[in-house]
C-alpha cells in the first residue's frame, strides 16, 4: 500500500515509556515507519503489532541502553537505514531524597537524562549533517528551566540536555538538520502514577505526542506541553533568586 522506497522512518529511543509509545503512534499515523529502541526490546512485540496493525506501517525493535555509550556507534550501524527523525524520550527521575545521599544513584540520574541522550543524539547529528537532512528531537523537561529543591538532580541533568539541544540546533541550522526541544510539564504516565497532579495543567502522553509531531512538521524549535507551561516557566524563571531560594514550589 505505502511506497516503502520513500517512506520516512522515525526512531524512538525509550520506546516503552507512555510518551514514547504515544510518539511512535503519532508518527505512524502520519505514515512513518517506526523503529522502537529500548532495553529488553524483545518484550515490545505487542507494541510492535499494535503500531503496525493500527497504522499499516512497518515496525522494528532494537536493543538499546543509553548508558552503554561504547556501543552507540554500533547501534546506529545496526539500524540498517539512517532514520529521518530520531526522538529521545529516555529519562530517569528517581527519588530526589535518595539521590541526594547516594552518588551512584544521582550519577545514574544525571547520566540517563543528560550524558546518554546527548551523546546518542550527537552521534546521529554527525550522520545527519553528512546526509544534509533529518530532525533530532529531545524530550527534556520544564524541570530543567530552573533548579528546585524537590528535583534538582533530575532537573539539572535536563537543564544540561536542554542546553545541549540548543547548541546542536545552532550548529546544524544551516546544514539542513533541525533540532526540536520538547519540554513537558506534568504528564500522566507511569513515571508520575500515584502522584497528585493538578488536572488542568497535566497533559496526556497523546497530547505530548501530537505536539511533538507537529513541531517536527513545522520546524519549531522548542515546545512546551501543555502550552501554558511556557507562561508558568517564564514566571518561575523570573522570580529573583533572593525570593526563590526561600520558596517551596
Amino acid at each position: 500500500m505505502t511506497d516503502t522506497s520513500r517512506q520516512k522512518t522515525v526512531l524512538v529511543l525509550g520506546g516503552r515509556s507512555d510518551i514514547g509509545r504515544a510518539i511512535a503512534h503519532s508518527f505512524a499515523a502520519d505514515g512513518y515507519a517506526v523503529a522502537l529502541a529500548a532495553r529488553n526490546a524483545a518484550n515490545l512485540e505487542t507494541d510492535k503489532s499494535d503500531i503496525s496493525l493500527r497504522h499499516n506501517v512497518p515496525v522494528s525493535l532494537h536493543e538499546f541502553d543509553v548508558l552503554d555509550t561504547g556501543k552507540m556507534e554500533a547501534f546506529i550501524d545496526s539500524l540498517g537505514v539512517l532514520p529521518d527523525v530520531v526522538v529521545s524520550v529516555v529519562g530517569l527521575m528517581g527519588e530526589q531524597a535518595e539521590n541526594e545521599k547516594d552518588t551512584d544513584l544521582s550519577a545514574r540520574v544525571m547520566r540517563s537524562n543528560y550524558e546518554g541522550p546527548a551523546l546518542i543524539l550527537g552521534l546521529f547529528a554527525n550522520r545527519f549533517e553528512e546526509r544534509g537532512s533529518g530532525t533530532l528531537v529531545g524530550v527534556s523537561s520544564v524541570a530543567g528551566d530552573r533548579g528546585r529543591a524537590t528535583n534538582y538532580i533530575y532537573g539539572s541533568a535536563k537543564a544540561g540536555f536542554t542546553a545541549f539541544l540548543s547548541g546542536l540546533r545552532n550548529r546544524l541550522a544551516r546544514k539542513g538538520v533541525h533540532v526540536v526541544t520538547v519540554k513537558p510539564g506534568f504528564v500522566r504516565t507511569q513515571m508520575t502514577e500515584g502522584m497528585k497532579l493538578p488536572g488542568p495543567i497535566t497533559a496526556d502522553p497523546e497530547e505530548v505526542a501530537q505536539a511533538t509531531v507537529k513541531a517536527v512538521r513545522k520546524g519549531k524549535n522548542t515546545v512546551y506541553t501543555k502550552p501554558v507551561w511556557a507562561l508558568i516557566m517564564l514566571i518561575i524563571t523570573h522570580i529573583p533568586e533572593a525570593i526563590f531560594k526561600k520558596m517551596s514550589i
Binding site: D18, T46, D47, D50, L53, R54, H55, N56, E193
Partner: protein, 440 residues
C-alpha cells in the same frame, strides 16, 4: 479519585491504577478486592470499586488481524472507536456495536453488548472466538466455547465478576463502504411500531426512537429506523470513488446540544414533538454515514452533563415476545401518566439468545433515561414491577439503582451466578459497587 459511570450517579471515591502489562495486572489482582474498568460508559456502578478500580485503558494493544476471517485479537483496553478508524478503511466494521463507539473490548464482552442487529446476528458474544481471563488465583486462562467453556460463558455478560479480561479474539464484518442505507418509517403508536419491527425481520439493523410522552391512541408513537450497509452498487458516483471516506463533522437537525437545557415535562414533550415531526418529514430511504447512523450521541461529547449535577439513571428492560405488547403498553402508560418523559427512549426487537448471564432474550427491549430525583426513582420502581409482572429482566450495564430482591425476582439465573462466584472463588477477589448492592 472520584469515579462514576456515564450517568454520573452514583459517585464513589475509588483507588485506581492503570496497569501496562500482565505483570502489573497480576500484582493488582493479588492485592485484594478489585474490579476492571473500561471506558466508564456503563451508566451506573458496574465499574466502581473503592478498594481498587483497575483502569484497563493502558492495556490497549491490537495484537493480530486475520484478513481471511476478519478475526481481530486485541487487548481488553482497546477502544471500539480505534478499531473502526483502523479497520473501516480496510473494509471491516464491528459485527456488533453499542450506541457509542467510546467503549472498550473488555466492556463489550463483560456486558455482552447488543446492537441494532441483535434480531439478525445476536450479541457481541456471537462473534467472540476466545477470551484470556485473569482469574482470582492469578492465572490467565484462555477460554472459548470448546476450551474451559464454563469460564467463557460466565465471563460473557458477567460484568467483570469472573475475572479480568486481558485480551480476546473476535470477528469483524466485511463491508463495502462506510455508508448505511437508512429507511425511516413513522409509526403512529406502539402497535404500529411493533408491526413494523415484525415485518422488518430481514433488515440487518432496526431500532425505534419512541415518544414516551404521547398518550391515548398515539401512545408509543415512534420513528423506526432500518439500516443496511451500502454496497458499491448503492453509492452515487462521488461516494463510490472513496467508499470509506465519510464526512468528519456533521450538524444535528435536532437541538440536542442545548447547554443548561432544562429537562422537564414540557421541554421534553416539545422536543419529542419536534423530533417526531422532523423524522416524519424525512421518511423514506437515504444514505447516512456510519458515524451518524450508529453513534448520533457521540457527536455531542459529554452530553451526560445536560442532566445536571445530580446525574441521571437509565432504565432498560427486555420483555419476552409473547408479553411484549402488553408489557410495553403498561410501561409506556406508567411513564406518560407520571409525566416523567425520557429525553431518549429507544425500542428494539431482540432475537433469541441462549446465555448464562447475558441480558438479551427474544422479545422487545425499552431503554429510557431520567434525571435522578425522588419522583423518577419511584417511577423506575414501578417500571421494575411491571417488567417482572411480564416476565422481563434488566440490563446491568445500565443499572445504578435496582434492589437485590428485584433482580433476583426478575432472573432465576442470579442464584446460579452467585453459586459460580462462590465455587470458583471469584467472589473473593472481584466485586463492584453494583455487585455489592445486588449481592452478586
Amino acid at each position: 479519585m472520584k469515579l462514576s459511570g456515564w450517568g454520573r450517579y452514583p459517585t464513589v471515591e475509588c483507588k485506581t491504577s492503570s496497569p501496562r502489562n500482565e505483570a502489573d495486572l497480576a500484582g493488582l489482582v493479588r492485592s485484594g478486592q478489585v474490579i476492571a474498568r473500561g471506558n466508564g460508559r456503563s451508566y451506573g456502578d458496574s465499574s466502581l470499586n473503592s478498594h481498587m478500580t483497575i483502569d484497563m485503558r493502558r492495556m490497549s494493544r491490537m495484537l493480530a488481524f486475520d484478513e481471511a476471517s476478519g478475526q481481530l485479537t486485541a487487548e481488553a483496553g482497546v477502544l471500539l472507536a480505534d478499531i473502526i478508524s483502523s479497520f473501516l478503511p480496510r473494509g471491516w466494521f464491528p459485527a456488533v456495536t453499542p450506541g457509542t463507539k467510546f467503549v472498550t473490548v473488555g466492556g463489550m464482552i463483560a456486558a455482552d453488548v447488543h446492537g441494532k442487529n441483535h434480531h439478525s446476528d445476536g450479541a457481541f458474544s456471537t462473534f467472540l472466538d476466545w477470551v484470556d481471563v485473569l482469574c482470582s488465583d492469578g492465572e490467565i486462562r484462555r477460554c472459548s466455547r470448546d476450551e474451559t467453556p464454563d469460564l467463557f460463558e460466565w465471563t460473557v455478560g458477567g460484568m467483570g465478576l469472573t475475572g479480568i479480561i486481558v485480551r480476546a479474539a473476535f470477528r469483524l464484518r466485511p463491508v463495502e463502504s462506510g455508508w448505511i442505507r437508512q429507511t425511516t418509517i413513522p409509526a403512529e403508536n406502539l402497535a404500529a411500531a411493533i408491526d413494523i419491527f415484525e415485518r422488518s425481520a430481514d433488515s440487518t439493523y432496526s431500532v425505534a426512537w419512541i415518544d414516551c410522552l404521547s398518550t391515548g391512541a398515539s401512545l408509543g408513537r415512534s420513528l423506526v429506523y432500518l439500516g443496511e450497509h451500502a454496497a458499491h452498487a448503492d453509492l452515487p458516483r462521488k461516494q463510490l470513488q472513496a467508499p470509506f471516506q465519510t464526512p468528519r463533522k456533521r450538524k444535528l437537525t435536532v437541538p440536542l446540544d442545548a447547554p443548561g437545557f432544562a429537562l422537564n415535562r414540557w421541554t421534553v414533550k416539545a422536543f419529542n414533538e419536534v423530533y417526531y415531526r422532523a423524522g416524519r418529514s424525512k421518511t423514506g430511504t437515504q444514505l447516512v454515514d456510519w458515524d451518524t447512523y450508529f453513534y448520533p450521541l457521540d457527536a455531542i461529547l459529554k452530553w451526560n452533563r445536560i442532566y445536571g449535577r445530580k446525574g441521571f439513571a437509565q432504565f432498560q428492560c427486555v420483555i419476552p415476545l409473547e408479553q411484549s405488547k402488553d408489557g410495553m403498553q403498561a410501561l409506556l402508560e406508567a411513564i406518560s401518566a407520571a409525566g416523567q418523559g425520557s429525553f431518549l427512549s429507544v425500542l428494539k426487537r431482540f432475537g433469541a439468545q441462549e446465555s448464562r448471564f447475558s441480558f438479551p432474550m427474544e422479545g422487545y427491549t425499552l431503554a429510557l433515561d431520567f434525571p435522578v430525583n425522588n419522583r423518577s426513582l419511584e417511577l423506575m420502581n414501578r417500571l421494575d414491577e411491571i417488567t417482572i409482572a411480564h416476565g422481563g429482566r434488566f440490563y446491568l450495564a445500565k443499572d445504578s439503582r435496582l434492589k437485590a430482591e428485584t433482580l433476583a425476582k426478575s432472573d432465576t439465573r442470579v442464584s446460579d451466578f452467585r453459586e459460580m462466584r462462590k465455587s470458583t472463588s471469584a467472589a473473593e477477589t472481584f466485586s463492584s459497587a453494583q455487585s455489592d448492592r445486588l449481592v452478586l
